[in-house]
């Protein structure tokens, strides 16, 4: 089990996170501004349209890879199934995760 756990912010009181480290989409890029491999892959694969769901999609995608659940398109779809995209960018999202997973493992 990885040390970190994904949580839905809409189901977490701020008080519940007291004393814990929290990473949000704003904390993924490096201090120099270089995008996280998953952020770059979302750009490269056109994995968004309106962008409303994108922070949650990217955080869930990073968790999906870190948990070791990005080994096939079917597995990616299953582990990303809690994140809905009304624009229907799913094809690009799956492609982005497949693109970023090996880069994240190397990093």
């Amino acid at each position: 089990m990885s040390k970190t756990r994904r949580v839905a912010s809409c189901l977490t009181l701020a008080a519940q996170a007291d004393g814990r480290q929290v990473t949000t989409i704003e904390g993924l890029a490096s201090a120099e501004g270089e995008l996280h491999p998953m952020q770059q892959a979302f750009v490269d694969c056109d994995a968004l349209q309106c962008g409303y769901c994108t922070p949650g999609q990217i955080m869930a995608a990073v968790a999906c890879v870190n948990e070791g659940h990005a080994t096939s398109p079917d597995q990616i779809r299953e582990y990303m199934s809690g994140n809905l995209c009304r624009c229907g960018a799913y094809v690009g999202i799956v492609a982005a995760i497949q693109d970023a997973a090996p880069k994240m493992r190397r990093a």
């Binding site: 089990m1 756990r5 994904r6 949580v7 839905a8 809409c10 189901l11 977490t12 009181l13 008080a15 519940q16 869930a60 968790a63 659940h69 299953e78 582990y79 990303m80 199934s81 809690g82 994140n83």
Partner: protein, 166 residues
């Protein structure tokens, strides 16, 4: 959302005394997936919340026994569903957990043992009973229920008697 107070219980005994002392408006908080939803709809309006997520003894489960499996009330769905013995020898149980919630919720902390009061699902925000339109076997489909849709983004203001087109 009306204000409420929040307390993290350190031990099971703490949690029990807090709920006993807190009165009718006190609620336990485990995964929160039901409580917060209902709070946002004003169905649940707790005055005090007792967070029981620190009670690690309730998160444990043991699937090594030959005649019984033991699950703590706070065992997380995703943790139980990843148990090798459950997957190998109790595949139906594994599958039902796997299908019960998306990974987003199962990993968020959806506890195995949920306590959703039936009345909470049947009350509108004003406390008015919510007609159930579940179809009875052998009978035609029930008429569309009159649900409160005032808070819904797309259907607010629409005629609730019209069939929902999602």
């Amino acid at each position: 959302m009306p204000p409420f107070t929040y307390q993290k219980a350190a031990t099971a005994a703490d949690a029990v005394s807090a709920i006993a002392a807190g009165g009718a408006g006190t609620r336990f908080l485990a995964g929160g997936t039901t409580l917060y939803d209902l709070m946002k709809l004003n169905v649940e309006v707790p005055s005090h919340i007792v967070d029981i997520n620190s009670l690690s003894e309730l998160k444990a489960f043991d699937t090594s026994g030959s005649n019984e499996l033991v699950f703590g009330a706070l065992a997380r769905m995703s943790d139980v569903a990843a148990d090798p013995r459950l997957i190998r020898d109790y595949h139906r149980a594994f599958e039902s957990l796997w299908r019960a919630a998306s990974q987003q919720l199962a990993q968020h902390g959806e506890p195995l043992r949920k306590s959703t009061p039936a009345h909470a699902l049947r009350l509108l925000s004003g406390g008015e009973p919510f007609a159930c339109n579940k179809r009875k076997p052998g009978k035609p489909a029930a008429p569309p229920r009159k649900a409160s849709i005032a808070g819904h983004a797309l259907r607010a203001g629409a005629n609730p008697a019209l069939p929902f087109i999602g």
